[in-house]
């Protein structure tokens, strides 16, 4: 079958085609020498009639001619062709049909089974019949028949591990176990883990290709193996262990020495590296230096040139410069004289002024004369100055070009010098840098030199250590060899195969150090469970899932190291975890810890050790203390040499043993001996009360007689091969099964918990039937309370006998609370009335009232119970009226809420009796009584009432009738008189139809049809009536009502597309009548689809058709056969159990079915790969494509460590008459057992009762 569009990874084998009836051969031993026979179904169009030659193509592409040799009785065409080498997968096709197809395309098809062609898988035909049993060995009382499972022939394992259900039959230390082959040859065996209240893991050596073995057990006087041999073996083992320890210590030392040497070498390398870099830099500088020197010399030359140019220009300038300067000096000089003259003039002027002031004419004149001569001197001086100025100017101009040249020369000289200094600096810098680098080089060399001597001894030490390690390894190998040769016969564990885990309850209190943990482990004697594992990985305690605390898990196995190198190991865990390899502690994490999460430095968490290639025995001990928020995680991870990524140690890194399965158990005297296994069937919770349904299956390898006796650990007892029991408390119980008169009862500790699987609607009915068969007197008071509460709300029609017995038990308790006693009395009366003993119930009324100690509310409760009985079962209106009136009269003065409920019930009775007038009056009375209920006053006005009604109608339209029913009940309580309206009756009818209360629905629909004023609802009422009869299975009535709907409301009929429902009904009616006439005198065989059960009984005999699954008589949970699915060698393999394709005839279109099956992982699942189950529903209508699924669900398979666990899901049925349900197990890795596949329809009543139960007394 094609799985959706996704193309699987390169799967070595592929999903089997969905056609049944093909001879499928797999493995090495084909049916007859070299030839493959194969049948092609009649409806395979690709093989045209008359064609005799086709071609088979193998996986490697070789083509083999195949001939159609004939047709068998089932008109299948038989094709035969020569087998090609060991090939197991072939592809058949007709070359004429597809002349131009390429090999590539063909191989592609082989990988992806496309529908047109047909292919064959060759698989080993597994004959389930064991060879003849050996003679019984005296002294042993029990014998288990064990068969190897899986691809045991090709796997290189030497030993087998099997889980024996011993249940307390062995000696306390569980050593009385003996294994023989079919011919009685004894095989060395050893007990790996023994749980006196559960299973025992035994490992024994295989004998060549033998598949069947017999394990004898339960022999109080079992004789020990020869003690001298044991002693020699013990000594050899101790020597081997010591040498191994020395080897490990040496390896640890070697690892450390190499570490230190590595670090030191690293240091030296760093020094060398700096030296190298310094050298390089120095070389570059040296390269630069000559350039810089030339630059200096150039600069020097340039300076010299500039210098003599400057001299030259200076020389030219000198002759011109001197006169210019002189002239300029003179000009300055004259300028000074002019200034002096000007000064004299001003003095003279002032003298004149002074004389004028003194009025001395003579002085004035003299002063005047002086002033005039000063004036004359001034003008002369000025002219001279001007002339001198001009001469100086001319001289300067003449000197100008020379001056400029000289200035340029100077500048040129200055630049040259600057360039020279720059060049010289550059040179100096280069030299300084070079010297600096040389310094660094020498320092680095010195340091390297200083370290060098140290490296020598370290390297030598590392080599010595490694040499010592090699010597120790050689020594250890030699000691191991001597021990192995000696001990090979006695101890199969020396073949170093198998990974097992054992869980104990932790009785210690200190996790601080290994010594304290060892003390704790010695005290923790209570083994909780043991299993074969594929990886060291678990979350929580799989054997006590409800308490993930205070447990210790010990893994023992063998690590296969292929690439030698330094490995880092790390056990991520809650609280303490220790890893020992070869009894040497490699990793430890003591004390209270949380698992390490988040990003860390890759080397920060692990512990390193150097390992060479080989097999190492290892142990992982994980202990979770009383840490309140511990999840109980433990995961062994490693960092392979050279890798940068932590990963879980994969299953391929461990050495696994072959797996054995117990297929039968026999007693020494041939008496009826049986063991049992269990699985939690369902757990459902309501109002804080959780009930657990647990299935127990007695197993013998054949049919178990019915007189075996169970005791369920809580006082209840039962007979019968398989039993289902109801528990109320989670936790451990010890269940025993007595089957053989002279053997002690088989006992097993069963853990009761609520698995995460969804609850099944059928569980309520099963729980009630279990209750009906349980002897209640043995149950304690607590269980009675819970049983009473369960029966009150489970809504199952068959609950009344159990209810009566529970009520009688409860009433025996004198200290029962008065209100509780009143409830129980009322329930007792209803239970007796429902069983037709209404009169008898009412006779006990007076006794009941006397017990109420005059408490009026309790009396009212009992009286209402009596009224209910009087009317519902005895139809005695007068008596019921009397009771109701008495309740109301006695409680007039107190506003009890109970009084209001009584009045409403009274009015309901009148309504049912048809007296609508009285009903209306009583409803009005009820509205006024018992006011003041919780938040009662606020909902009085009509608006709120109308709103509630509209919401109820809206809920119904949007497809959830349950919410609308709840709203209607609230309306009843708040506004009793509301019940008279048409809309209300229509809504009640719809809710009752969908809730499976078909008669109430019919009554309400007819009431609506009679109410003329509510004509608007008539078409919907007619359609509702028709659908109700369809659901009841009465096609004639349904068709009649549909016809009436079509006639009176054709538009409505079209709009609701009722035509195809009518067509479906007509087919169903036709098929029913056809079956009716076809059969001769036998009654009509018409069986509406009741459900399909596949515990593989039917398939056991035939060549199996389940892909790589084997059908075997074994210790399943349903019937004597189990399907083993072997995906041990693959990783993430997809198994298509086409045997689990279940045809469902005559289904109720659009309904729902409940699909469930049991599974367990016999040899461990590696959760890393996330195995999953896909369940599909497809129609079988003609023309519909077989692969198109109308509904598909996917469920994850959790690791169960050998415990049975249930997978369950709902599937919607298509709108057709027949359908097929199919199950595919995807992404498997490991060995699984699958049993008890069942598909059952869910009726409306069951669904409604279950939802009401889950929603509790007062649903949200």
């Amino acid at each position: 079958m094609k799985r959706g569009g996704k193309r699987q990874r390169n799967l070595p084998w592929l999903a089997a085609l969905w056609l049944v009836g093909t001879a499928v051969v797999w493995g090495q031993t084909p049916t007859d020498e070299g030839m493959v026979t194969m049948k092609v179904g009649p409806d395979e169009e690709w093989l045209r009639p008359g064609v005799s030659a086709v071609t088979a193509i193998a996986r490697d592409g070789t083509k083999i001619p195949a001939t159609v040799v004939g047709v068998d009785e089932a008109s299948n065409r038989v094709v035969r062709f020569q087998r090609h080498a060991e090939e197991t997968w072939y592809w058949l096709y007709d070359p004429e049909m597809e002349p131009d197809v390429s090999d590539q395309e063909l191989l592609g098809r082989l990988q992806d089974a496309v529908d047109v062609a047909f292919y064959v898988r060759m698989k080993q035909t597994d004959t389930a019949v064991p060879p003849e049993s050996p003679a019984w060995i005296p002294g042993y009382r029990v014998r288990y028949r064990v068969r190897l499972i899986g691809d045991y022939l090709s796997s290189p394992t030497e030993t087998v591990i099997v889980r024996l259900p011993t249940g307390g039959w062995l000696k306390p230390d569980g050593t009385d176990v003996l294994v023989t082959t079919a011919v009685g040859r004894r095989r060395p065996a050893i007990v790996l883990s023994h749980d006196p209240q559960g299973d025992t893991l035994v490992q024994f050596r295989r004998h060549e290709g033998e598949r069947w073995y017999w394990v004898y057990a339960s022999n109080p006087e079992a004789t020990e193996v020869d003690p001298a041999l044991l002693q020699r073996i013990a000594d050899a083992r101790k020597a081997a262990e010591e040498t191994a320890l020395r080897k490990m210590a040496a390896l640890k030392v070697a690892g450390e020495r190499v570490g230190i040497y590595r670090n030191k070498a690293l240091a030296i390398e760093k020094e060398r590296d700096t030296e190298k870099r310094a050298q390089q830099e120095r070389a570059e500088w040296l390269k630069l230096l000559p350039e810089r020197e030339t630059a200096v010399s150039n600069a020097a030359a340039r300076v010299a040139a500039a210098k003599d140019k400057a001299e030259k220009t200076a020389a030219e300038l000198a002759p011109l410069q001197k006169p210019a300067n002189e002239k300029t000096a003179r000009a300055v000089e004259i300028e000074k004289q002019v200034a002096a003259a000007r000064q004299a003039l001003t003095e003279a002027a002032t003298a004149v002024e002074a004389a004028k002031q003194q009025g001395d004419q003579a002085a004035v004149a003299a002063a005047e004369n002086a002033r005039a001569s000063a004036e004359k001197k001034l003008t002369a001086a000025e002219e001279a100055a001007k002339a001198a100025q001009e001469e100086a100017q001319a001289a300067r101009i003449a000197a100008e070009p020379a001056l400029r040249a000289q200035a340029d020369a100077q500048k040129e000289l200055a630049d040259a010098e600057a360039a020279q200094t720059g060049a010289r600096n550059a040179v100096a810098e280069a030299q300084m840098r070079i010297t600096e680098l040389e310094g660094m080089i020498s320092k680095a060399q010195a340091a390297a030199a200083a370290l060098a001597p140290e490296i020598e001894p370290l390297q030598k030490a590392a080599e010595e250590a490694q040499a010592a390690a090699d010597r120790a390894a050689a020594e250890a190998a030699a000691a191991e060899q001597t021990h192995l040769k000696l001990a090979l016969e006695a101890d199969p564990r020396l073949h170093q195969e198998g990974l097992t885990v054992e869980f104990r309850e932790w009785a210690g209190d200190d996790l601080g150090r290994w010594a304290a943990v060892v003390e704790g482990l010695q005290q923790s004697s209570n083994i909780v469970g043991s299993a074969i594992a594929r990886q060291v990985l678990h979350v929580g305690n799989p054997f006590q899932p409800s308490s993930p605390r205070r447990f210790a898990a010990s893994y023992r196995g063998f690590l296969q190291i292929d690439t030698p190198g330094v490995y880092s190991f790390f056990v991520n865990s809650d609280d303490a975890a220790f890893l020992f390899i070869n009894q040497y502690k490699v990793y430890s994490r003591a004390g209270f810890n949380r698992p390490i999460t988040g990003v860390h430095n890759i080397y920060a968490v692990g512990a390193d050790i150097q390992l060479e290639a080989g097999v190492y025995p290892f142990e992982v001990h994980h202990v979770v203390g009383n840490t309140p928020d511990g999840q109980g995680l433990c995961a062994l991870a490693w960092l392979r040499p050279g890798s940068k990524q932590w990963e879980f140690v994969p299953p391929t890194a461990f050495r696994h043993a072959a797996i054995g399965a117990v297929t039968a158990v026999e007693a020494w005297d041939g008496g009826p001996l049986a063991v049992f296994d269990y699985g939690v069937d369902d757990a459902f919770t309501a109002d804080g009360l959780t009930l657990y349904l647990v299935r127990f299956e007695a197993q013998h390898g054949g049919i178990v007689s019915d007189h075996v006796e169970w005791s369920f650990g809580d006082g209840a007892r039962r007979r019968g091969a398989s039993a289902t029991h109801l528990y109320v408390r989670p936790g451990d119980v010890t269940v025993t099964l007595k089957s053989h008169p002279k053997m002690p009862a088989f006992q097993r500790r069963c853990h009761i918990w609520a698995p995460p699987t969804p609850s099944s609607p059928h569980s309520l009915a099963r729980a009630v039937s279990v209750l009906n068969q349980t002897d209640l007197s043995a149950l304690g008071r607590l269980l009675l309370d819970d049983m009473y509460h369960f029966l009150l709300i489970c809504g199952q029609p068959e609950r009344w006998p159990a209810m009566e017995r529970v009520c009688r038990e409860l009433l025996k308790d004198a200290k029962l609370d008065v209100a509780y006693r009143a409830d129980v009395r009322a329930s007792l009366m209803e239970a007796m009335a429902r069983q037709g003993r209404g009169r008898e119930a009412l006779a006990e009324l007076d006794a009941a009232l006397a017990e109420m100690k005059g408490v009026r509310s309790a009396e009212a409760q009992v009286l209402m119970g009596a009224a209910n009985v009087a009317w519902n079962s005895l139809r005695d209106l007068a008596a019921a009226e009397g009771f109701y009136a008495r309740v109301i009269r006695e409680n007039e003065r107190a506003r009890l809420p109970l009084v209001r409920r009584a009045a409403v019930a009274w009015a309901d009775m009148y309504l049912e009796a048809g007296d609508t007038a009285k009903a209306a009056a009583t409803y009005r009375l009820a509205a006024g009584l018992g006011r003041g209920g919780p938040g009662g006053e606020r909902l009085t006005d009509a608006v709120t009432r109308g709103a509630l009604l509209r919401v109820a109608e809206q809920q119904l339209k949007s497809g959830n009738p349950r919410q609308s029913l709840r709203l209607l009940r609230r309306i009843e309580e708040e506004f009793p008189e509301q019940k008279m309206e048409g809309l209300y009756r229509f809504l009640r009818a719809e809710a009752d139809r969908i809730g499976g209360r078909y008669d109430a629905a019919v009554r309400n629909y007819e009431a609506v049809l009679e109410m003329r004023q509510w004509a608007g609802y008539q078409p919907a009422a007619l359609a509702g009536l028709a659908d109700t009869y369809r659901r009841m299975g009465d096609e004639k009535q349904a068709l009649e009502w549909y016809r009436r709907t079509a006639e009176s409301f054709p538009a409505f009929f079209e709009e609701r597309q009722l035509s195809n429902t009518v067509a479906l009904l007509e087919n169903q009616l036709a098929r029913r009548e056809a079956q009716g006439e076809g059969a001769t005198n036998t009654p009509p065989v018409w069986t509406p689809f009741a459900g399909y059960m596949q515990d593989f009984e039917g398939l056991a005999g035939q060549t199996n058709r389940l892909g790589r699954a084997y059908l075997l008589p074994a210790m399943g949970l349903v019937g004597p056969h189990v399907a083993f699915v072997d995906a041990q060698s693959g990783t993430g393999v997809e198994w298509d159990l086409d045997g689990l394709k279940l045809h469902l005839q005559n289904i109720l279109g659009g309904g729902k079915v409940w699909l469930e099956f049991w599974y367990r992982d016999t040899a461990g699942i590696s959760p890393e790969i996330q195995p999953r189950v896909r369940a599909w529903m497809a129609t079988l209508a003609p023309g519909a494509h077989p692969n198109h699924a109308t509904d598909a669900r996917e469920v994850r398979l959790e690791p169960t460590f050998g415990r049975w666990r249930k997978v369950a899901t709902r599937l919607n049925l298509p709108q057709t008459q027949d359908a097929v349900a199919k199950i595919v197990l995807a992404e498997l890795a490991g060995l699984y057992e699958v049993d008890g596949v069942s598909v059952r329809p869910i009726t409306d009543r069951e669904e409604d009762a279950f939802l009401t139960f889950v929603e509790g007394v007062d649903p949200q």
């Binding site: 109002d687 804080g688 009360l689 008071r781 607590l782 309370d785 009473y788 509460h789 609370d817 008065v818 209100a819 509780y820 409830d823 109420m852 100690k853 005059g854 408490v855 009026r856 509310s857 309790a858 009226e881 009136a885 109301i888 009269r889 007039e892 003065r893 107190a894 506003r895 009890l896 809420p897 109970l898 009285k918 009056a921 009583t922 009375l925 018992g930 003041g932 209920g933 919780p934 938040g935 009662g936 606020r938 509790g1256 007394v1257 007062d1258 949200q1260």
Partner: protein
Amino acid sequence: MRTKRLLRAGLMGGLVLAGWLAEARTIVLDARQLERAAGLEASAPRHGWAMTREGTHSWANVIHAGLLDLTRGRCFLFAFSLADIPKGHRITHAELVLPISTWWGTEPRFYLWRVLAEWGHGVCWDYRLVGDKRLEWTRPGAAGMGSDRAARPTAIVRLTEAGSVVINVTEDLDLWQRGAAAQQGWLLSVEDPDVTIRFPSPLYNEASSWKLRISFEPEAMP
């Protein structure tokens, strides 16, 4: 016809008796008259006063006495002392008024149960101390219906707006006053997964808002 007569008689009886009500009395008790009160919490199983709220301190539970956060995994037990009701009287009506400050969750509702098992000093989630004997609850958190608490809740109260809620508890008071059941008070619980209802704590200054109104009349009345 008979029922009409009965109805009329009932109504008439009510009117006639009105006159007699003079001696009937109503008393109001509040949190100060609380005889015992305890807050139990699954995650602090040994504490008797542990209406915890998820405090900011992740390492431990915060026992906050100022507010009661009622949610799943917690329940609040409280018992008034009924000494003030004189002997020889019968209860006609009793109302419990509980103050609600706020709530979280859709369609919030809480349950009021009558407690059957004896409890007192040393009560906690796992067990209750009677004298110095340690008696387990039938189910932790006083959840055993019919043994720890009544078989049916006294009331299931749906909250529509903040403020106080009035609950008709006449039947329970009648039981206690008549001595038919030992007075062990009531228990508040929330059963829906994501609903939390916050009550002001009776210890703090809201003590007066927890009220029990009881009206009673002499037994002799017809």
